[in-house]
């Protein structure tokens, strides 16, 4: 997936929405910018399959040597799949943030939550400001 096909949360998760079996499915991961800022990942806690989440809910954790960062669900829905290979191969996140580095799939229960997400251009502007301040 290319970044311009994705939506981004201010909290640095990306979302790709696609039609799967008559339902809207959101694939979620962490942006390349956020991964570059985190560096030295040591631990990933995946979301729980079957859990119902609302946009903004903490549903996982990523830890680097330096800090622990919550993963927030960018959408409303039910977690239906997680990328179980990731916790033992954290390098995949940085190698392929928008393909093999996907973290979870959430079956959307509404699409209104998507309107709060950013397109790649707006998201990158936010990152540029954060980079200068960070």
């Amino acid at each position: 997936m290319k970044p311009d096909e994705l939506l981004f949360a201010e909290t640095h998760e990306w979302v790709h929405v696609a039609q799967e079996g008559g339902e809207k499915m959101a694939t979620i991961g962490i942006s390349e910018f956020a991964l570059a800022q985190l560096t030295d990942l040591v631990y990933l806690e995946l979301p729980e399959i079957g859990r119902t989440v609302a946009a903004g809910d903490e549903f996982g954790v990523v830890e680097s040597v330096k800090a622990v960062s919550p993963l927030y669900s960018p959408v409303n829905g039910e977690v239906v799949a997680v990328n179980a290979a990731l916790p033992d191969h954290l390098e995949i996140l940085s190698e392929s943030p928008y393909e093999r580095g996907w973290i979870a799939k959430v079956r959307l229960t509404d699409e209104a939550c998507l309107s709060k997400l950013l397109d790649v251009v707006t998201y990158q502007k936010q990152c540029a400001c954060a980079g200068e301040n960070g």
Binding site: Q37, T39, D40, V42, Y43, S64, V65, K66, G134
Partner: protein, 371 residues
């Protein structure tokens, strides 16, 4: 970044070399250049170069300088011989730690040694005020804060000495650990010391601010072909944590005394009157809580402030924790109640609501002598 942050003489170099810059103790400092783990491993295996210019440097002029400091630090410094450096604590009347410092007595042409104290960046204003307050009118000691006129560079790692030794006009190889000298690097007068905060062999250089960039670049050029590299504050933190060294604001504070911190080696109570000594004599029998090392067997990292638990009861708290690049597991330091501070004691750390087993482990976690 806020405008009122101080910048070291090497700031432009860091910015030009993609350092991630963060606010630290009032300074804009490089936290890492590439990866914390790479910078950490380079320091363990070859050498790391650290800009530590944020550390406070205070000079003391006058023949009574060491006698003055002797009344304010936990270790006897009055009769230090030229060339000696001592680690000590500055304590308040209750024995609480105001700062941990290095006192340098350097050979000089004057009647007494040249006296220097290196203090933590965050404590520089506090310590300056504390020293001035305790300076009596009849003591002819002048305190000069030379932090902004100088830069400080740490060269740390197994190849640090062989890299620096040929560059300086002193026999660095035969200098003992915790010794220092005034020397020349090229045409520049510098202070060099066999000291550090990484658990590795190495040295630290205090250089004039105007020469800092040239000397830093020279060291980078010498280090790079040997696998050395600049390293930021984040690697400095993981290195010192593996080496079991306390950090002010984490393991050390005004609410903790040096005996609780396990720094007995730096406290001389016999025949030594200093501010805080009476409180420490009272606590010397058995501190109620102690600093310990903890290691964990999973990958979640115990962070500062997380509770340490035994049989459902909170018995302490984490003060520093990280994922150790050397041991590939989380390590931490904590204060726990004395009955739970024995090596081998099994405890739990409450990591965001879930308990993770931890074992009290001897400090330091890492020693270059037992590799």
């Amino acid at each position: 970044m806020a405008d009122d942050l101080l910048r070291t003489p090497l700031y432009a170099w860091h910015a030009d070399h993609q350092a991630r810059l963060v606010a630290f103790a009032g300074w804009e400092m490089p936290v890492s250049y590439t990866s914390i783990v790479e910078e950490h491993q380079a320091t363990r295996q070859a050498l790391g170069l650290f800009d530590i210019s944020h550390m406070g440097r205070l000079e003391f002029d006058g023949p009574g300088a060491l006698a003055f400091l002797d009344r304010l630090v936990t270790r006897r410094v009055a009769r230090m011989a030229p060339g000696q450096i001592r680690y000590a604590l500055v304590t308040n009347e209750n024995g609480g730690i105001l700062d941990d410092v290095l006192v340098y007595a350097l050979a000089s042409s004057g009647p007494g040694p040249r006296v220097l104290m290196v203090v933590n960046a965050s404590n520089r204003p506090k310590i300056l005020a504390w020293l001035q307050r305790h300076l009596t009118a009849d003591e002819s000691v002048v305190i000069r804060d030379t932090t902004r006129q100088t830069a400080m560079i740490a060269v740390q790692g197994p190849t640090a000495i062989e890299v620096v030794a040929p560059q300086v006009d002193v026999d660095l190889r035969s200098m003992k650990y915790y010794s220092g000298a005034v020397t020349r690097l090229g045409a520049t007068e510098i202070i060099i010391s066999r000291t550090g905060y990484t658990g590795e062999d190495g040295c630290e250089l205090i250089v004039p601010a105007a020469s800092a960039l040239t000397i830093w670049q020279q060291l980078v050029d010498l280090a790079t072909p040997r696998g050395g590299r600049p390293a930021g504050l984040a690697a400095r933190d993981t290195l010192r944590l593996e080496a079991g060294m306390p950090l002010y604001g984490h393991e050390l504070s005004e609410d903790i005394n040096p005996l609780q911190a396990g720094l007995d080696f730096a406290v001389q109570l016999r025949d030594h009157e200093f501010v805080g000594c009476h409180a420490l004599q009272a606590d010397a029998v058995a501190p109620a809580r102690r600093r310990v090392g903890l290691q964990l067997d999973q990958r979640r990292v115990p962070r500062e402030g997380y509770p340490v638990v035994h049989a459902g009861q909170v018995v302490g708290a984490i003060t520093s924790g990280t994922f150790s690049p050397t041991f590939n597991r989380p390590i931490a330091m904590a204060y726990v109640e004395a009955p739970f501070a024995t090596v081998g004691q099994l405890l739990d750390v409450d990591i965001r609501g879930r308990l993770a087993p931890a074992a009290v482990t001897p400090l330091p976690f890492y020693s270059r002598h037992s590799k």
